[in-house]
Every structure is written in structure tokens, then in C-alpha cells.
Amino acid sequence: MKQTLTQSMAWLHTWGGLLFGWLLFAIFLTGSLAVFDQEIDHWMQPEIKQTSVSSAQAVEHAVAYLQRQHADASAWNISLPSERMPALRVTAGDRRSGISTYLDPLTGEPLVVRDTAGGTFFFRFHYSLSMPRNPGIWIVGLAAMAMLVALISGIIIHKKFFKEFFTFRPNKGQRSWLDAHNASAVLLLPFHLMITYTGLLIFALIYMPAALDSLYNGNFAAFYQEHIDVPEEHHAVQTSQAPLTDLAPLLAQAEARMGPLSGVVIEHPGRSDAHIEMRRVLGNRIALTKGHNMVFDGVTGELLAGPPELRPTVLVQRVMFGLHFAQFGGYPMRWLYFVCGLLSSAMIATGLVLFTVKRRRKYASESALGQQLYRLVESLNVATVAGLAVACIGLLWLNRLLPVELAQRAGWELRGFFAIWLLSLLHAWLRPRLQAWREQLSLAALLCLGLPLLSVFSDGQAWGDSMRLWLEVTVVALGLLLVWSVWRLRQPQVQRSERRERSVQAQVN
């Protein structure tokens, strides 16, 4: 039988959407949380206090500490306190593998800070599912491709795109689910398309390496070098001891040129070939400016390389990245991205629920195997949507409940996170459908509403830190939303019985 375009697109949208929907929901929800990764990081490190010190003062303390403790290190990295992250962190050696210490920005004394997965975990999960880097990136890329397919097939099969632009009809069962799915998809379509497309572009060179392979023999560094004027590595033949130049004037110069700074990297400190790199905070412009910094001579203080001018092609690429990473536009923009991301997740969730709502009547007539498969779909829906919510808020609880001195604490937080998620699947499989939804959503709501209390009792300080307070207020607001959804879950049965009564009355009349 020949199918129309709409029919085949509907088939593609239904099954592609279902198979990738679970994964996509997890990617979108953790991505939305990752918008506030540093804020969550800060909440998860209650040992660090909010302070306001100038970057010059912070750098002075950091350099003094590094000179005292790590005078012979090959490099020093200083992460400066910022509006979003009040921590001052110094690393001796490589930025990723070196030894990191947190310092009190006011006194320069080292702080003991708990080992935690942090908000950074949501970010890592968002792009690699916490798997080894490349397989994770490939799976997420596949899901993003499926998302793009679902969006476009969804546009094609939507019959009343403009006619039902503002339409939402609650309390009508399947109709309401479809309305909610359509409204969240259509009204946020610019966001869905932008975030999916730019997300795919970030790792485009991994997904489509042909150009890089044929033009640069697969050498990414060579490609990068040619497109951005990265300052050449100066290797002085002979190096000798030489004192480090005063950093304060360099900081002022860099801040005047690039705006707020995120950190300072000092290569070969205390030697004649020392280099100082001033790194800027991302977000002075849309384009992601990672790595586009100013480099100074570490002895004379002379400017060696300024922030590079981007070629138009690179600029386009960087703007695409920047649109996805949402580092620009300050907190108002961050909030827009966060809420849009949550609604994207909700759009995916309503799609998943719609799949089962549509077919629920047919279940009974299916074979035993078919019935089991539908039950599996229902359980997976509960575990992905409600279960992940429990696991995410559970991670924040684990951060406070696990003993501070536990070895490999961050690892245990993550094990806890995945254990909760797995348990939610088991629970969803064992309990009847509606109870499973209600119980898991209630648990998530309870954990959200209880978070401020947990934080008061575990930190022993009553909401003194405005950033942590904001996070807790937001979590409580999300908790209230969950309470509302639990309350709504009781409605359909009431509605149905009312309708039955009404139809009985109609028959009598």
C-alpha cells in the first residue's frame, strides 16, 4: 500500500521519537541544569564563601602561595573568583592533571574543600553521557540527529500549525497531551532548532572528519593553528633564573582590553622564558572565545600576542558554539536558556507520554508479549522522566549526606546518582503505572522542597550565601511545580467518573 508523505512522516516521528526520546529527555534535562553548572558547583562546595576581592588581590595571594609551595612547578594556573564562581583555585602543573588547591581569596590561606561531582557532572553527562569521551559523543550526536529529524517530521505532520498556535485544552485526555506537546514544540521551535543544530555542529569535525583528514591529514592542531593566530611557542635555547614580573599592571591592561578575566596561566614561572596568559571570561560576545587570550612575557611584562582577530569562517563557527554554550548576555540570558531547556525537556516528555496514552486502549487486545512491551515503554517513561528528576535532586542530597572524609567522594556521589536512577526503573516496573508516576514525582518534589532545610542543617548556617539561596529558591519553585503535577495526576480519574455520570444522565434524559 502506498503511503502519503504525512503518513510516513508520522511513522518516523512516532518511532524515532520514542526510541530516542528517552535519551533526548536525559540530554535536554541535564543540559538545562548545565546552564547553571558553576552555580551548582558553588552550592556543592559549602566550604567556599562568597567574597568580593579585586582580581589583583586574588592573584597576589595566589602567586604568593604558589611561590611558597610550588616554586619548581612547570606551570601555574590560577582560576580567579568571578560573579558566578567565588572560588579561587590554584593548580601547579598541567591545568587538568596538576595538583589543585582552593585558597581563601581574602587571606590566601588554603581551604579544605569536599571532593564533589559538582554541576560540572551535568555538563559532562549532557555531551557524553558520562561515558568514555568518543563513544558518548557519538551516541549524543546520533540522538541530536534524531531530534532534528523529529522536529522536521513533526512540522510536516502538524496539520494546524498556525491555527492552533496558542491552543491548549486541559482535562481532555489524549487531546490535552497532544495540545501540550504541540504548544511547547511550536512556540519554542526557534529554540529547539537552534539548540539541536548548534549542538550537532560542536562536534561536527568528529562526526564528519573527511575534510580534516584530506586537508590536514587528520591533524586537528594544524587546522586550529592555521585558522587562529595562536602565538608560537617560544623555546629559548638557554634559560636561567629570572624573577617574575609584577602582575598587577598586566591584569589592568588585560582587563581594559578584554573585560573580566577568568584566570591567569603562568608557564615556566621563575625562569627567563616565562609566559603569562590572561584568560578572559567567556561571554563578552556571542562567539565562544575559548583560547583567545592575551600573552605576556613573564620577565619583562611585554605584550607578546593580543586576543586574535577571528577569520569570518571561524567567527561563524564560534558564534554557533557560543549560541549553544549560552555564556553571553549575563543572568537574564541564562534564565531564558534554562527555562527554554526545561520546556524542551517537557516537550519530549509529553511526546513520550502521548505515545502510551494513544495506545492504551489497544493494550488489552495485544498478545502477552505485546502487553509486556507496552509495559516496558510505560516503565521507561516513568524512569526517564520522573526517575531522572529524582536522581538529579538526589545528587544534591548526596553531596551533603555523604561523609566529607570519604575517599573518592565524587565517585560515590555519581554511583549514588546512577543507583537512584536504576532503582527508579525497577520501581516503575514493579508498581502500577499511575502509582509509579505519583510516587516518583512525589519523592522528587519532597527532595526539592526539603533542600533548603538540608542545607541549613548540614552547613550550620542559615542561608547566608546569596548564590546558594538563589539555587535553593529555584529548586523549591521546581518542587512546587512537581507538587502541582502530582496533584494533576489524580485529576483524570475524577474527570472520567464525572464524564461517565454525565453520559449516564444524558442517556436517562
Binding site: 496558542f166 491548549f168 512556540l187 549575563g330 537574564p332 540570558m333 531564558l336 536558556y337
Partner: protein, 112 residues
């Protein structure tokens, strides 16, 4: 920046509201009768004008590069909020900008 941001959010919601009320179905939903042809024209016209005004407001908050990005986000969110609000509290959905305007003016006066 905060006043410009909230101001353009108010404009974005008002523009979506005006465009929405310019449709017969949603006008009926709130007022229980069909709009006259003139009302429909005025609502739609002011909807488009407010839409442009909110873009201008976003440019004031973020500049012309980031402004349009934030503008799309605002339109989406206020349109969605409106769609959810209409069936539950139609009058509130319509009067929200009327309540929002004095709040914003107060903020504007305080922020200077």
C-alpha cells in the same frame, strides 16, 4: 540592563497577547463573543507594533547582536505562558500586562 530586560519581556508578552486576541477563537474564549472587524485589525496591528518594540527593548538590554537571540526566547516563553494561562485564567491572561506595567514603571523609577 534589568529594567530593559523586564520591559522587553512585558512588551513581548503584550505583543503575543494582542496577536492572540486578534484571532476569533481566542477572543471568544475570553469575552464570549466574536470581535468586530475593527477590533481584530487594531489588535493585530498593535500586536505587530509591540513585537517590534520588544525587539528594540532587547537590543537596549543586550545590543543588536545578542538582543535578537534573547528576543526569540522571550517571545517563545511568553507565548507558551499565554497558551497555558488562557484556559485556566483567561481574564488574568488578558490583564497581566495591565498589572505588569505599573510594576515596571515603579522599577524604572527606582532604578533611575
Amino acid at each position: 540592563m534589568m529594567t530593559a530586560f523586564l520591559g522587553s519581556l512585558l512588551l513581548a508578552y503584550s505583543s503575543m497577547l494582542a496577536l492572540c486576541q486578534g484571532l476569533e477563537r481566542h477572543y471568544k474564549q475570553v469575552w464570549g463573543r466574536a470581535p468586530t472587524r475593527l477590533q481584530r485589525r487594531v489588535l493585530r496591528g498593535s500586536g505587530w507594533l509591540l513585537l517590534a518594540a520588544s525587539l528594540w527593548g532587547c537590543a537596549q538590554a543586550w545590543g543588536w547582536a545578542m538582543g535578537p537571540v534573547g528576543w526569540f526566547g522571550m517571545l517563545s516563553l511568553s507565548g507558551f505562558a499565554l497558551a497555558l494561562l488562557l484556559p485556566y485564567a483567561p481574564r488574568l491572561a488578558v490583564y497581566a500586562p495591565v498589572l505588569g506595567l505599573p510594576c515596571w514603571l515603579l522599577l524604572y523609577a527606582l532604578a533611575g
